[in-house]
Symmetry: C2
Subunit: 146 residues, 2 copies
């Protein structure tokens, strides 16, 4: 299902970095392993509560941040400024095609920076951001949730 890490890989990274493997963290890893798109902290919290009804929001936040810092998760601020997370793919540079409805995300390798663009000014280029937004096939067929 996931193009990024599987649960074992994620847990291995945690162990390697000296973090304990708690049930909550195991569950969180599973959530992201089974998910192609982006999840908000609340999404994660909601999925966590299925297995751990007493989980707290701050634990979710703490672990999301921790997993991001370890590189297991990719952090992302959407167009509307909302924070989202997703299992990260560190293997190669790519960009995202994101469904504005269900937020399912596909990656593609085309990168505009590889073209010979003429940029104004004499900026020292550091990085870039390129995302394409649309509606995935599934959401085009299914009635809109709105």
């Amino acid at each position: 299902m996931s193009e990024s890490h599987n649960v074992q890989d994620m847990l291995a990274v945690m162990s390697r970095n000296g973090w304990r493997i708690t049930d909550q963290r195991r569950t969180m890893a599973q959530i992201f392993a089974n998910q192609d798109g982006y999840l908000s902290p609340k999404d994660v919290y909601d999925q966590m509560t299925v297995k751990y009804p007493s989980v707290s929001f701050d634990t979710v936040y703490r672990n999301l941040r921790m997993l991001s810092e370890m590189g297991v998760l990719e952090q992302f601020y959407f167009m509307d400024g909302g924070l989202k997370f997703k299992g990260s793919c560190l293997s190669h540079h790519h960009h995202h095609l994101i469904c504005v409805n269900c937020e399912k995300t596909l990656t593609f390798d085309y990168c505009p920076m590889e073209q010979q663009m003429v940029l104004p000014g004499k900026y020292k280029i550091l990085n870039h951001r390129f995302e394409v937004y649309g509606i995935c096939e599934e959401c085009q067929n299914n009635p809109p949730t709105t």
Copy 2:
């Protein structure tokens, strides 16, 4: 100074839309007319207090939102999720080259969507986001603020 609207244009748009021209709004228009880069609500507030020490944050927010809805300002969530505003250029499609230090912004016309890209899936493409981040010439020469 500004590549976008001048003060007169902005005030004209406000009048045309039936909004009153208050001194605070005039000042806000001036701030954006004299500014090439992005400003956070706090930046705007700080500049406003120079002329109107008793201006309130909510007035700044209200007017920023109003000016965005009118299309006079361009709203933007930066990489770190922070909300910023900038005098908008509605005349043509373009993208931005942004200084990560001073946030001075240049526009350029190259658009990756005009290339014949092969995108995965069968998404119905709606829009896109492309920004290049770097350090402007000025900030390269001047000692870093950090």
